[in-house]
């Protein structure tokens, strides 16, 4: 499982690097633009605030499926929250998938 995840992350990261060499094409920047609506609380490109002692986990580089599952669990109310249940209800399944794919392709904190 761990190896598979690393391999997936590696593939996603190279794809992102290739895409960033040229101005983003309109077709594949939807996840990036949608995630920007989350960045006020979770940092540009999911990187968090860059401060030590941050209480929220960094989203960049996390597995896509785990991110999408979290959002859906917030939306149904299955996962407890103060604010995320209210925000998650604003996004469709397709939008959640796009955001999760974008975040999974961003460089995580380990790099």
């Amino acid at each position: 499982m761990h190896l598979v995840m690393v391999a997936l992350l590696g593939a996603a990261t190279s794809a992102a690097s290739a895409a960033s060499a040229t101005p983003a094409a309109a077709a594949d920047n939807r996840g990036q633009r949608l995630y920007a609506s989350c960045a006020g609380c979770r940092g540009t490109a999911g990187a968090g605030s860059g401060n030590s002692g941050e209480i929220l986990p960094v989203l960049a580089g996390q597995p896509k499926d785990a991110l999408a599952a979290s959002m859906r669990a917030f939306r149904t109310g299955e996962r407890p929250a103060t604010i995320m249940q209210q925000l998650a209800k604003g996004y469709t399944d397709e939008q959640i998938e796009l955001i999760a794919a974008y975040l999974a392709a961003q460089p995580g904190p380990a790099r």
Binding site: S37, G40, S49, E54, I83, Q86, L87
Partner: protein, 436 residues
């Protein structure tokens, strides 16, 4: 980019004649006016999303960014100004050129911004994020000499915040702090009510015989009403008095007295007047403030002005879509929709046809407890505006305001400062008193 977008003074501007459609270089140039939550975010994201292909100049006269969010905690005594003051170096690292001057005038025909110092800056697209200006003419007594030094607004964080805190510290125990609230819309709908909580928090500790009197021109608490009223009735019972429908039309500053349109006069030991507001003056030029001469109407797909070509307006200056507050978070969100559209349009692409925004707004009700309101907004193609997504959003749940939300509120501040400025907060924020 350096200085090649400067085209000299007014004479040089005139000599450009009718060649406004061409630029001196092939690179596109965006000028952003105003380095608050809206303008700073727009400048950064245009650089990011164009992958450095678009030159961006940010015009901002202040050397430092002082956050309005959390500034009420300075009044309450649990934060210091250093905790809410950040710099612009992070934007410079993104290649944003920062011009520390005031934008004085816009020549829409020649697509140029004239700076107070006389220089002109040509733009391919202009982004205005000028915040609000105060309508002092609606409070005649505030236009008298030194009135504005005596009766403070503290509605733009900075020297006024420090001075109002000093007035609170100097006030005798048993005094009344009165705050007037203008009719909505105004900057930061829950801000006045948070301020009432913060002053009450300070009084509880330091001046327990004192009172907080809220004189609200609106008929009810504008934001998080049930939550604030519950807190005033419990935590601050006997200390906070809420008086709705008190529309302040004049102020006797020397007597620290607010006067309502019905002629009621309220005298206070410390009088804090939040004045009625409109879009910042630079955006009011050229008829951009086309809604009641106060707010700027925009196309919410791009935040383009409905009055001037190649000009975008965002943040508090905008005539808001339904249920869209004038908040720092919302200005940050406007900026990203606008930045995306500017990059797309200057790259010959159609802008994103389905933009989405969120609003998240925390209010501290003491030094360590907070409440929130949140919403998600999406483009409605039929109604051609941004509307709250049905079923999304809400406020803090029932039960007492809590420390977990305060921790999230501080996290929000750190993250939005980072997203807006690419600048970590001063370390003192994390070591300071109260919430962490």
């Amino acid at each position: 980019m350096k200085r090649r977008h400067f085209i000299g003074g007014i004479g040089a501007l005139a000599s450009l004649g009718g060649c406004a459609a061409t630029t001196a270089t092939s690179r596109r140039h965006v000028v952003v006016v105003g380095g608050g939550y809206g303008g700073a975010t727009a400048a950064k994201y245009i650089r990011l999303w164009s992958v450095g292909a678009i030159d961006v100049t940010l015009i901002e006269p202040h050397a430092m960014f002082i956050s309005c969010p959390l500034s009420n905690l300075v009044l309450g005594g649990s934060k210091q100004m250093t905790d809410i003051t950040l710099g612009y170096a992070g934007l410079a690292r993104h290649g944003v050129r920062i011009v520390r001057e005031r934008a004085a005038h816009i020549d829409f025909d020649k697509q140029a911004v004239l700076l107070a110092g006389g220089q002109a800056l040509r733009y391919d697209r202009l982004v205005l994020s000028p915040g609000v200006d105060f309508l002092w003419d609606q409070l005649p007594g505030m236009q008298r000499t030194s009135a504005q030094d005596t009766v403070l607004h503290a509605w733009k964080a900075g020297a006024q915040t420090v001075a109002l805190r000093a007035q609170l510290e100097a006030m005798i125990d048993g005094g009344v702090f009165a705050m007037t609230i203008p009719p909505a819309p105004y900057r930061c709908p829950p801000g006045p009510y948070e301020r009432a909580c913060q002053v009450a928090h300070y009084f509880r500790r330091a001046k327990p015989k004192s009172k907080v009197l809220i004189l609200d021109a609106n008929e009810d608490v504008v934001s998080k009403g049930a939550l604030f009223k519950q807190i005033w009735a419990t935590r601050y019972a006997g200390m906070v008095e809420y008086r709705p429908g008190f529309h302040t039309v004049d102020v006797d500053a020397a007597a620290r007295t607010a006067i309502s349109e019905l002629g009621d006069k309220v005298q206070a030991a410390v009088l804090n007047v939040i004045p009625p507001q409109r879009a910042g003056a630079i955006a009011a030029q050229g008829g951009l403030a086309n809604v009641n001469h106060r707010w700027c109407e925009v196309d919410f797909l791009t935040f383009a002005s409905t009055r001037a070509a190649n000009v975008h307006v965002l943040g508090d200056a905008v005539f808001a879509a339904p249920l869209m507050p004038k908040s720092a978070h919302m200005a940050n969100q406007h900026a990203k929709v606008c930045a995306g559209a500017v990059v797309d349009l200057l790259s010959g692409r159609a802008p994103n046809p389905a933009p989405m925004l969120t609003n998240t707004c925390y209010s501290f009700v003491s030094d360590r407890e907070a409440i929130h309101v949140a919403s998600v907004h999406a483009w409605d193609a039929a109604k051609k505006t941004l509307l709250v997504v049905p079923g999304s959003g809400g406020v803090s749940g029932a039960g007492p305001a809590n420390a977990l939300e305060a921790a999230y509120a501080i996290s929000w501040a750190r993250n939005i400062w980072s997203d807006t400025l690419s600048q970590a907060a001063e370390p003192s924020v994390y070591r300071s008193r109260g919430v962490r």
